[in-house]
Symmetry: C3
Subunit: 413 residues, 3 copies
């Protein structure tokens, strides 16, 4: 008993230190370093078809907002508390000109201008001094995007080559809000954990053979159980990983997946079909520090049902049970975990200081470093990767896809 009682040669849990998350990297509220970085981009906040004259509540980057479409078809995104006395515009009435608060009838247009104060003399002689706080919204491809950053830094809304110049009969199918790792279960709209846990999953090729294939059930294809040979490469908009596979015919297939700033993911077809760049894009939208959702846009070939295509290519999980994810028992979730269980069980925000990253976490580490550099750039007054102010530069290219090529591999430090 002479031994120092605090020594711990056996790795006992006794006396282990407290751990914490990396706040600068993952917190997105107003005024936070990462929140300011995120606010330099447009984020999808709803499907266009869902935005009507009935006001709806949305929560984006930790801010509660009211989204609606006025009678002239213009979408509007306002803070919920009426500038007058704080009643929620969720109970407002929308007409051609804007939204009217239920309590005393103040009316605001989609840019927050107060256009009527019906209880005031002459409809409000000073109403021009009132402005309901608002954010710009724009629509493209059937999605409503919002810009929640400093007005002077508003970039052009990005467009995507794979969705432009559609061939005859082609269309774009959009979907959201959805969860992550719940397969085709559309009852799940919000994932109760930090956005980065989902985002870095896309730069983590090695969980596929483990979680999705070997652990209990084959969630994709049996071949996914082989450990891939992986390299990483920087791109104009972010980071790619390339999984190299020798084929029976001696050729090499490179499967390229992309993470693009700030929260865009492109993952190619699982069946390794060789061809054009992937025409399916996913966006993560942070609800707040502890939850997020996904939006999807996919190019649909002529004669194909968009929803069916979407379900086929994007949502094979879960396996090991024929139930929908939300119908599974606790025991089934425990027996057949998928991304949801693996990532949500990391906690609402994982404890980064406690991790032990290894060589197979190269993609995760590289993505975090890339994010940290962007956060620092914004902090120092610069513009982060991928924002464009020139409409001529609004169209982005997708580089993800399955390719047959012999190019020398570049490893990323």
């Amino acid at each position: 008993m002479d031994q120092d009682i605090n020594s711990n040669p056996e790795g006992s849990a006794y006396g282990r230190p407290m751990h914490h998350h990396d706040a600068e990297l993952v917190e997105v509220g107003p005024g936070t370093p990462c929140g300011e970085f995120m606010r330099r981009y447009w984020h999808p906040v709803a499907l266009s078809a869902d935005v009507t004259t009935t006001p709806q509540k949305v929560r984006i980057l930790g801010e509660d907002l009211i989204l609606f479409r006025d009678g002239r078809g213009r979408p509007g995104l306002l803070t919920p508390r009426c500038s007058h006395r704080g009643t929620s515009l969720y109970y407002g009435k929308v007409d051609d000109d804007g939204i009217r608060c239920c309590y005393h009838g103040w009316q605001f247009d989609v840019q927050g201008r107060c256009i009527d104060q019906p209880c005031e003399p002459q409809g409000g002689l000073a109403k021009n001094r009132i402005r309901q706080p608002w954010y710009p919204v724009e629509e493209i491809y059937g999605l409503v995007f919002a810009y929640m950053g400093p007005p002077a830094k508003k970039p052009v809304l990005p467009r995507w080559e794979v969705f432009e110049k559609l061939a005859p009969g082609q269309s774009i199918y959009v979907h959201g809000y959805t969860g992550f790792g719940v397969g085709a279960d559309d009852t799940i709209k919000i994932v109760p954990m930090n956005w980065l846990q989902s985002y870095e999953n896309i730069m983590d090729p090695f969980h596929v053979p483990m979680l999705h294939t070997r652990h209990r059930a084959v969630q994709y294809t049996p071949e996914a159980g082989h450990l891939p040979q992986v390299t990483y490469e920087s791109t104009e908009l972010g980071l790619n990983y390339i999984a190299h596979r020798k084929m029976k015919d001696g050729s090499t297939v490179e499967r390229v997946s992309s993470a693009m700033m700030p929260l865009i993911m492109v993952v190619p077809d699982q069946k390794l079909e060789i061809g054009e760049p992937t025409s399916y894009i996913r966006w993560i939208t942070p609800v707040d520090d502890q939850s997020h959702a996904l939006f999807h846009a996919i190019r649909v070939p002529p004669g194909v049902d968009g929803r069916e295509l979407f379900l086929n290519v994007s949502r094979p999980m879960p396996m090991g049970t024929s139930k929908m994810w939300s119908e599974m028992t606790e025991e089934e979730h425990q027996r057949h975990p998928t991304d949801w269980e693996a990532m949500v069980s990391q906690g609402p925000i994982t404890l980064h200081s406690e991790e032990h990253l290894a060589t197979s976490d190269n993609g995760v580490m590289t993505l975090r470093r890339l994010l940290k550099r962007q956060i620092m750039t914004v902090r120092e007054g610069g513009d982060p990767m991928g924002v464009a102010f020139d409409p001529a530069k609004a169209v982005n290219k997708v580089t993800a896809g399955n390719y047959k090529r012999n190019a020398p591999e570049k490893a990323l430090a």
Copy 2:
């Protein structure tokens, strides 16, 4: 991009300041400025008929208490944790002499005196040193009132002329707890927001034409859609607003509504029937900073059923649906908001620093100033408006009502 990125000529929601409630004005816990002001008055805490030998939990001004009636008919209001070891007197057994804790049998009378300690030698030789903290309660008109302030400042329990000297066959009908803005829905007992949001609603004549008439459905009468001409006047006990209406016969009808200190509301008949002062009084009772309830007392003419009269005169809402409020769908609440939706959506405590009050908020502003003056008076050692220590001055008059008169109008600054 040379522009200061923090400038905000467009009223963007980006970078908007944080807002807060006015703690001094609205928080009512022990030791707070407003809480001390509120504690100088008697507050209704239950209907007399509901107070029995079965102990019940009540929460008033942020304090949890146990209310019961001993076998001799005396109501008692004690702190819940037994002075002995903290077991709740909610599980106590009541007899003629008081309430007995279930754990070790200590017994207290309605004034908290410890009258038995059955496990102690000779029933407790030192039991006189024990006093269960208690508050005085008195009953009148079928309501139980409590005084939770400093003993030396206990005023006489106010009486009301409209409820005294009842004519033969007249009676008083009482009702509570009830919500606010839920019409006849008695399943709602507590309103989840600060008391002031309801109280100032009574000094806000202009929400009637907007919320209750024009917004979606006519909740009172179509005539309520006209903007009234309104003046305000100070009274001995608080504040009146007077809505002036020219009648077809050339006369003027003045509809006088009263807010009396600290939390009393008298609103005259909606049908503008001319006559005596209104004989229907409502009290707001703060449960805590974020919730409150209402009590009602109404004088009933001979041969009339009190409950029916109460439902007729007090509870016309909601319109636009035939459902009870608590049965309405979320969509129906959104489509047919009433006071509840308008005020509860201001938040548990509205953010006063964010408001933009206008001329039509004169009543709200005047009421808040009046409350602030009372709070200051108590803070400086004085007695607030309307408390009387002389039993001869216990009887108050109601001034609210519908009157035909030609008196010159007084506007309040």
Copy 3:
């Protein structure tokens, strides 16, 4: 009105002070004084039969842990967050060698050693540097015990004479988790209050005649309604109370109940059967500061069903209704309170500063002093009462029981 408004001769609840619990005495989290004391002992955490290859969540002394049994039959208790990236081992897969995280397949043995990193080159060249934090567990009598203290201070696992050297046909029946004061209701597993509230109940002979007998219904025997004559005595492992009863034949029966360090309770048969030391032991296991559970072990005579015996001797409550505790209405709980209502209504942690302890609380006071001395001893570097490091001293004796004797009584100061 000249009187000081803060004087309070009437014991009014107005202006009463805030109260608090005794943190040093009752908080058990890592690093707290009492937590360090508690961590010097083995605590039961599960029944052996319940520990399988399916990982389960347990929470002990405020720490969340994962308990499982590997394929070779060894129980393991690890921290839940995988050392790699924080995914919960609750979703892990167990085989002969240990538990494997679902996300990237890191595998740990029951002592936390990392034995495989399948995504790393050659299964993890540096895996020896990784240790999943773990606690030692041992099994005896059908219970799994954990030691959560400093490794250098790990005592031998206590054994009990009453469970050793079983006669032919004798067996040991174990049960848990269970609540306290809910009778035979096995749906209640966790008691939502601090452990001390249950523990000191066992050194409180006087609540039996009050709560369990006189209050509403006779929960044990009518004789329990008589106030006992009680003395206290220190023991090697803690504290006994002795209830003295004169029998009709002139003899004296002494009923001895034991509280042993840190959280062991032995209460003899209620029917005062004279005989051997009691062979039924209960352990309280703190879940965290605000909840705890109980484990039971009872020696079963030949030919007797263990579960039936357990239900007979340990779980007579509640009375006054034939329902199970969890099926009782709120009104029935209020009318027929038992230990649960008496103690849970003291709050998640009772407010010790508000208590008024009296002579009948001698056992409670003595037990608290004893605990405080042990806490101080640990704080000063010593070993608390009842821990043994010599396997030869592992076997403890039970002194509780019903005895016929004439020994002079010793009162404890």
